[in-house]
C-alpha cells in the first residue's frame, strides 16, 4: 500500500478500460514458452555445412547454452535482432553461450550476403523444409530456440520478441 499518493479519477472510464483490456488481450507481443511441442524435449539433432564450409553438428555443442535462430535475409525483424546476437556471442561466449543461425533463404547467396554485411560471429548454415519440420514447423520468422547444456529446449521465441527478455532467460543458465 502506497501512502500519500492521490487516487486517480477517471469519470466515464469504464468503456476505455474495457477497450484497452480487449486490445491487450488481442495483441500481446508473442514470447511463447509453452506453445512449442519441443518444449522440454531434446532439440532435434542435425549436421550441416555452414557458410564457411565447416561442419556444423548441433550435438557438438552439448555442454553449452545454445540459441538456435532461424532467420532469412528478407525478414526485417530478423535483421533487427541479429546485431544483438553478435553482441551476446562476444559477451557471453566465455560463459558457455553459443549462437547458431539457420537461414531459411531459398538461396545461399542472399544468406551469405547478409552474413557478411552483419559480420555474424557465429556459425550459420542453410536450412530447408525438412529441418523446419524437425523443429515443429518453421512457418514464420524469426524463431529462436533456447537449448540448455543437456540439449533440451527450454524456451521458444516466435516473432519479434523483447531481446532483454531472452537475455534474462539465458543468463542464469550460463557458467558464472
Amino acid at each position: 500500500m502506497i501512502m500519500g499518493l492521490p487516487r486517480p479519477s477517471f469519470r466515464g472510464s469504464t468503456t476505455v478500460k474495457l477497450l484497452l483490456f480487449l486490445w491487450l488481450g488481442v495483441s500481446v507481443p508473442s514470447a511463447s514458452f509453452g506453445a512449442s511441442s519441443l518444449l522440454h524435449k531434446a532439440a532435434p539433432e542435425f549436421v550441416r555445412t555452414d557458410l564457411n564450409q565447416r561442419r556444423l553438428d548441433l550435438r557438438a555443442y552439448r555442454g553449452k547454452i545454445v540459441l538456435l535462430n532461424f532467420w532469412a535475409s528478407w525478414c526485417a525483424p530478423c535483421q533487427l535482432e541479429m546485431p544483438r546476437f553478435v553482441t551476446w556471442q562476444n559477451t557471453y561466449a566465455s560463459r558457455g553461450l553459443q549462437i547458431i543461425g539457420i537461414s531459411m533463404d531459398d538461396d545461399s547467396d542472399s544468406a551469405l550476403s547478409l552474413f557478411k554485411k552483419l559480420k555474424l560471429n557465429y556459425p550459420v548454415a542453410m536450412g530447408d523444409e525438412r529441418l523446419g519440420r524437425l523443429y515443429g514447423g518453421v512457418m514464420g520468422l524469426p524463431i529462436t530456440f533456447l537449448i540448455d547444456s543437456r540439449g533440451n529446449v527450454q524456451a521458444q521465441y516466435q516473432g519479434e520478441t523483447d531481446l532483454n527478455l531472452i537475455e534474462e532467460q539465458f543468463k542464469p543458465l550460463l557458467r558464472p
Partner: protein
C-alpha cells in the same frame, strides 16, 4: 443535454482509442496519421483483407467458387506447409517474383477471385504482399483479397488446425 454531451464525447474518445490501439495496422495507419512506407502491407486497403477463418470456410465449403490462392513469400516455407490448392508464384519483394506472378495471372479474366498470402513474418513487416497486391491492381484485377495473418502462417493458420499440405 449535459448528459448527452458527456456520453457523446466519451463515445468519440473510446472510438479514437480503439482505432489508435487497434490490432489492425491498416486502421491505425489510415486514421492515426502513421506514415505508410511504399510496398508495405499498410498500402493494402482494409476492405481487401480476408480473415483466416473466412478463407478456411471458403475452401472447406464445396458449394462456393474457389478463389485462386497464391503464396508470394518464401518457397521453402511454402514447401514446409501451405494452404491446400494454393500455388507458389515467387517472392513478391523480388522483381523475379513479381514477374512470375504476372506470368501466372496474365491470361486470367480480370474479375477472377484471387487470394494472396504470405505469412513469412509479422503482418506489418511483410515485404512481399504489398508489391504483389500492387502488381495485380496495376494489371487490372478487381477481385483480389489478401489473407490477413497477423503474426505468421504457423501461428495464424497451421497451429489453429486449419488445413495444410506439404511439398513444393
Amino acid at each position: 443535454m449535459k448528459t448527452s454531451l458527456t456520453w457523446l464525447s466519451g463515445t468519440i474518445a473510446a472510438a479514437l482509442v480503439f482505432v489508435l490501439l487497434s490490432p489492425y495496422p491498416q486502421m491505425r495507419a489510415q486514421f492515426g496519421g502513421v506514415a505508410v512506407p511504399p510496398g508495405s502491407t499498410l498500402t493494402i486497403p482494409q476492405a481487401q483483407l480476408l480473415m483466416p477463418e473466412a478463407l478456411r470456410h471458403s475452401i472447406l465449403t464445396a458449394s462456393t467458387e474457389k478463389p485462386l490462392i497464391l503464396q508470394v513469400g518464401s518457397h521453402m516455407m511454402y514447401a514446409e506447409g501451405h494452404i491446400p490448392g494454393s500455388e507458389y508464384v515467387g517472392q513478391g519483394s523480388q522483381p523475379a517474383g513479381l514477374q512470375q506472378l504476372q506470368d501466372r495471372v496474365n491470361s486470367l479474366p480480370r474479375k477472377k477471385p484471387i487470394v494472396l498470402y504470405c505469412g513469412c513474418c509479422p503482418w506489418n513487416r511483410c515485404p512481399n504482399l504489398g508489391p504483389a497486391f500492387a502488381k495485380l491492381h496495376d494489371m487490372g484485377f478487381t477481385n483480389v483479397k489478401v489473407l490477413y495473418l497477423a503474426d505468421n502462417f504457423g501461428t495464424d493458420w497451421a497451429n489453429k488446425g486449419y488445413p495444410v499440405e506439404q511439398g513444393r
